[in-house]
C-alpha cells in the first residue's frame, strides 16, 4: 500500500512537468501582451516596451522558461505582473473560498444524492424513480449560471433568505460564513446531485439483483439494512469514482459560480489572470489544479480498499 502511494506520488512529478511546459508555451503563444495591458489606454509604444523589458518578456522563450522553472524548483511561483504580490500569497488569499465552496457543494451533493439514488433503485420504475431520472436530466442540462440567477431571484430577491453575492471568511463567524455560502453551494451541487444520484441508482439497482440480496431478504433482515449494508456497500466503488470525478470537475464549475456570486476564490483569480495575461499566476494556479486533480484520483483509488476489501495495492 505505502509503495503504491509513493509510486503514485512520484508519478505526479512527470505529470506536473508536462503541464508546466505546456502551460508555459500555450500562454506565450496566445495573443496578448501583459505589458500593453499594464500600461493602460493612453500609453505610448515606448512605455509598453519598457514595461515588457522590466517583466523580462523581451528575453528569448527558453531563457524565460529556465528562469521560471529554476524559481519553481526553489518553491518560488513568482510575482503577479498585475498585483505586485507573490503568487503564493495570492493563492493563499483565494484558496479558502474555493475550498469552502467545493467542500460544501460535495457535502450537499453526497448527502442528497445517495439516498435519492438508493430510493430510486429500491422503487425502480415507480413515480419516484421516474421523477429522479427527470430531475437528473434537468440537472445536467441547465447551465450553472441560469440556475444561479433563478435561485437568486427566488430565494434572495423574492424571499430574502440569503444574500445575492459575497463571501464571509470562516474567521468572521460560522453563521455569516454559511449564510453567504449556502446558495452558491446549492447552485453548484445540483449538477453533482444529478450525476451521483444517477450512478448510485444504477449501481444499487445492479446490486439489488444479486444473490446475496435475495439471501439477506430471505433471512428476514429489515429492508433498510438490506439496502444500506448490503446493496449500497457493494455499490460503493462506482459511487466513489463518480464523486472523485465530480470533485475534479468542480474546478471548472467554481469559475462560473464564483463569478455570479462574487466569491473571491481561485476560479475568479484564474479567469482574471487569463484575461490579463498574468503568466505567473496562471501557471501557478494550473499547476495547483493539476496537483489537486492527481491527488483526488489517488484518494479515490485508495478509497476502493476501504469499500472493497478484495482490492489490494
Amino acid at each position: 500500500m505505502y509503495t503504491f502511494i509513493a509510486r503514485r506520488l512520484l508519478a505526479t512529478i512527470p505529470v506536473l512537468l508536462v503541464v508546466a511546459v505546456l502551460v508555459f508555451l500555450m500562454l506565450r503563444l496566445t495573443p496578448g501582451d501583459p505589458a500593453a495591458i499594464l500600461a493602460g489606454d493612453a500609453a505610448s509604444g515606448e512605455q509598453i516596451a519598457a514595461i515588457r523589458a522590466s517583466l523580462g518578456l523581451d528575453r528569448p522563450l527558453p531563457v524565460q522558461f529556465a528562469i521560471w522553472a529554476g524559481n519553481l524548483l526553489q518553491g518560488d511561483f513568482g510575482s503577479s505582473y498585475f498585483y505586485k504580490t507573490q503568487v503564493a500569497q495570492l493563492i493563499a488569499q483565494r484558496i479558502e473560498p474555493t475550498l469552502a465552496l467545493a467542500t460544501l457543494t460535495i457535502l450537499i451533493a453526497v448527502i442528497v444524492s445517495i439516498p435519492l439514488g438508493v430510493i430510486a433503485a429500491w422503487r425502480f420504475g415507480g413515480w419516484f424513480d421516474r421523477a429522479l431520472m427527470g430531475f437528473s436530466v434537468l440537472g445536467f442540462s441547465v447551465p450553472v449560471f441560469v440556475l444561479a440567477y433563478l435561485l437568486i431571484w427566488i430565494v434572495s430577491l423574492q424571499l430574502g433568505w440569503f444574500p445575492v453575492q459575497g463571501y464571509r471568511r470562516l474567521a468572521d463567524g460560522f453563521w455569516p460564513f454559511l449564510h453567504h455560502l449556502i446558495l452558491p453551494a446549492i447552485t453548484l451541487s445540483v449538477i453533482y446531485i444529478a450525476l451521483i444520484a444517477r450512478v448510485t441508482r444504477a449501481a444499487v439497482l445492479e446490486a439489488l439483483g444479486e444473490d446475496y440480496i435475495r439471501t439477506a431478504r430471505a433471512k428476514g433482515l429489515p429492508e433498510a439494512r438490506v439496502l444500506v449494508r448490503h446493496a449500497l456497500a457493494n455499490a460503493a466503488v462506482p459511487i466513489a469514482t463518480v464523486i472523485g470525478i465530480g470533485i475534479a470537475l468542480l474546478i471548472g464549475g467554481v469559475v462560473v459560480t464564483e463569478s455570479v456570486y462574487a466569491i473571491p476564490g481561485l476560479g475568479r483569480l484564474t479567469v482574471d489572470a487569463v484575461l490579463a495575461r498574468d503568466f505567473p499566476t496562471v501557471q501557478a494556479v494550473i499547476l495547483l489544479f493539476s496537483f489537486a486533480y492527481v491527488l483526488v484520483n489517488l484518494l479515490v483509488d485508495l478509497s476502493y480498499v476501504v469499500f472493497d476489501p478484495r482490492i489490494r495495492y
Binding site: P31, K84, Q93, Q165, V260
Partner: protein
C-alpha cells in the same frame, strides 16, 4: 513608518466610532483595481484610487475651469517664465508629515516623465525648486500656455502629490508605499486584489472652503469607510446586489441593465459625469488601405455617428452625436472641419472610396467581445464600411488581446490591424494635447501612428500660446487638419449614469469617479 500609518488608520477608525456604528459606503467600481501607482499606468482604476488617497495642486470644476486645490496662491512673472506657488495651510500626509514644496517638486518631476501632457510641459521647464517649506517654483525656458491645464488635469495621468521619498521612485518602477495627503487613507493590509479595497476617512484632512465641484473645491468626507467591491463583476449580479441593498453605488452599469435598474425599488440613477465619454474609431496609418488619406476620408464619411450610438448605447437620452474631435460643450468643442463626416452620406462615402483608388485590400477590424461598453461598435463599423464598398475582415477577440494587438506595427496579415474602436473619458480628449489621437509624430504617436508635420506644429504652438482666444483658434485649426488627414473618426458621445441606493446623496458632478462629499443616510 508603517506604525505611523497603522496608528493613523486606527485613529481614523476610532474617530468614526466603533466598527459596528461605522458608516460604510459600499461601491462596485467599473473595473478591477490591480495597479496602485496612478503615475506608472494610465488605467482609470489607478487614477480613481489616486483620487481617494492623494490630493492635487489644482482641480477642474464641473464647468471645466481649473481651480486651486492644494495651492493657496500663485504668481506668474511678467515674462511668464517663473511660476511661484504657495501651498495652503494644514496639508499633511497620512504619516503625519507636512506637505512641502520639495514633495511637490519631486511629484511633478515624476509625473512629467510619464504623462503625455506632463512630458510636453517638461519641455518648457528649466528647473523646479522649493525656497521654503510651503513654496515651490517652476522656472521655464520660455512662456507656455498649458501650466494650469496640465497641473489641474482631471484624468490620467493626474499629477497627484506624493511624499518625496515615494515620488523619488524611478518613473518606470511602480511605487511601493501608498501615502497621500488626500481625504481617505488606503488600508493596505485589507487590500485583497480581485476582492476588495478599503479606504478610511482621513480625519486630519482639511478641505477647502469652496463647494465641491468636479475635482476642485472642498473634499468633505461624510462616511467612515469606503469599500470597493472588486469581486462583484457579473452585470446581473451587480444589479441584484444593488436592488437588495447589499451595495450602495454601482458605477457605470451596462446599458442593458438600466431598464431593470429604473424599476428597482430604492434605486436611482445619477448622471455624475454629464460630459461623459466620446467613442472613437482609430485607423492604422502605417498600412494599406489606411495609409492613403483619401481612403481614410471615405471611411470617416461612411462612419456616421448615429448608427454607432443607437446600436451601442440604445437609450436616446444617454447619447448625442458630436461633430467635434474635442468633447462637445467644452471650450475647444467645435464643428469646424467636420463636414466630411457630419454632413456626409453613404453615397458620398461610396463616391469618395471610388475616387480614392481603393484596391479591395481587406480592412481588419478588431472586435472585443468582453467589453460591454464598446463591443457593438466594431459590428456597426464593419457594416457601414461594407456598404461604402470596403472589404472587411472583422476579427473577434477579448479586450486585452485588442490592447496588445493594437500596439503591433506589423501589417494586418502578420498580426497587425487596420481599425480599432474605443471610448475616451471627456477630459482625455478635450484639448489637442490630452487627445492622444491628435498626436501626429509618426511612430512616436499613439497607436495608429499618423504622421503630419502641420498638426505637430500647430500642437506645439498651442502649448506655447497663452491667449485663450488664440488657443481656441489653434485647437480648431488642428481639428480641421485632423479631419483632412483623417487621424481618426469621432463616433459620438454618451453618458453612463451611476445607479445608487436612494439613501446615497452628494456624488460630486464632474469627470472621474470620486467619493468625497458622499452622504449615506
Amino acid at each position: 513608518m508603517h506604525r505611523k500609518i497603522a496608528a493613523a488608520v486606527l485613529l481614523a477608525a476610532l474617530a468614526g466610532g466603533a466598527l459596528a456604528q461605522e458608516k460604510v459606503l459600499r461601491v462596485v467600481p467599473h473595473s478591477n483595481l490591480s495597479i496602485l501607482d496612478p503615475i506608472w499606468t494610465t488605467q482609470f482604476m489607478a487614477r480613481n484610487h489616486g483620487y481617494m488617497i492623494y490630493d492635487t495642486l489644482f482641480g477642474t470644476d464641473e464647468k471645466n475651469r481649473v481651480q486651486p486645490q492644494m495651492v493657496d496662491t500663485w504668481t506668474v512673472s511678467p515674462d511668464q517664465r517663473l511660476w511661484t506657488f504657495k501651498l495652503r495651510d494644514g496639508l499633511e500626509f497620512h504619516d503625519g508629515k507636512p506637505v512641502t514644496g520639495e514633495d511637490v517638486a519631486a511629484s511633478i518631476a515624476r509625473w512629467g516623465k510619464r504623462d503625455a501632457m506632463g512630458q510636453k510641459l517638461m519641455t518648457f521647464v528649466e528647473r523646479m525648486d522649493s525656497p521654503d517649506a510651503k513654496t515651490f517654483r517652476i522656472f521655464l525656458r520660455e512662456a507656455c500656455g498649458i501650466m494650469l491645464e496640465a497641473l489641474g488635469k482631471p484624468s490620467s495621468n493626474v499629477p497627484f502629490i506624493m511624499t518625496k521619498r515615494v515620488a523619488d521612485t524611478p518613473a518606470d518602477k511602480q511605487i511601493e508605499e501608498h501615502i497621500g495627503s488626500g481625504p481617505y487613507i488606503f488600508v493596505r493590509d485589507q487590500f485583497k486584489p480581485g476582492d476588495k479595497a478599503v479606504y478610511v476617512k482621513n480625519a486630519k484632512y482639511k478641505p477647502r472652503k469652496e463647494a465641491p465641484s468636479g475635482t476642485a473645491g472642498g473634499k468633505h468626507v461624510y462616511v467612515d469607510r469606503v469599500e470597493w467591491n472588486l469581486a462583484l463583476r457579473d452585470g446581473q449580479a451587480q444589479v441584484n446586489a444593488l436592488a437588495k441593498g447589499e451595495i450602495d453605488v454601482l458605477e457605470r452599469p451596462a446599458f442593458e441593465s438600466y431598464e431593470q435598474l429604473r424599476k428597482a425599488p430604492g434605486v436611482v440613477l445619477v448622471t455624475k459625469d454629464p460630459l461623459g465619454f466620446q467613442y472613437m474609431g482609430r485607423f492604422n496609418h502605417l498600412h494599406p488601405p489606411f495609409n492613403n488619406p483619401k481612403i481614410r476620408q471615405a471611411a470617416i464619411a461612411a462612419m456616421q455617428q448615429e448608427p454607432f450610438l443607437r446600436a451601442q448605447v440604445g437609450i436616446k437620452e444617454f447619447y448625442k452625436p458630436c461633430a467635434s474631435m474635442y468633447t462637445c460643450g467644452t471650450p475647444y468643442g467645435s464643428a469646424k472641419g467636420s463636414d466630411i463626416q457630419s454632413k456626409s452620406s453613404m453615397r458620398k462615402a461610396q463616391e469618395l472610396l471610388k475616387a480614392s483608388g481603393y484596391d479591395g485590400t481587406p480592412v481588419v477590424i478588431l472586435k472585443p467581445t468582453d467589453l460591454a461598453a464598446i463591443q457593438k461598435l466594431p459590428d456597426v463599423a464593419a457594416q457601414l464600411l461594407r456598404q461604402a464598398g470596403f472589404k472587411v475582415d472583422l476579427q473577434a477577440m477579448d479586450w486585452n488581446t485588442v490592447v496588445s494587438r493594437r500596439s503591433k506595427k506589423e501589417p494586418p496579415a502578420q498580426g497587425g490591424w487596420n481599425i480599432f474602436l474605443t471610448a475616451w473619458l471627456a477630459p482625455d480628449v478635450w484639448n489637442p494635447l490630452t487627445n492622444a489621437a491628435l498626436g501626429a509624430a509618426g511612430e512616436k504617436s499613439w497607436f495608429g501612428w499618423p504622421t503630419d508635420e502641420q498638426i505637430e506644429k500647430l500642437r506645439d504652438q498651442f502649448a506655447r500660446e497663452t491667449d485663450a482666444a488664440k488657443k481656441k483658434a489653434l485647437a480648431e485649426a488642428i481639428q480641421v487638419r485632423a479631419f483632412e488627414v483623417g487621424t481618426h473618426a469621432p463616433l459620438g458621445e454618451y453618458v453612463n449614469p451611476y445607479a445608487v441606493r436612494k439613501n446615497i446623496s452628494g456624488l460630486v458632478i464632474g469627470s472621474g469617479d470620486t467619493y468625497w462629499n458622499v452622504k449615506k443616510n
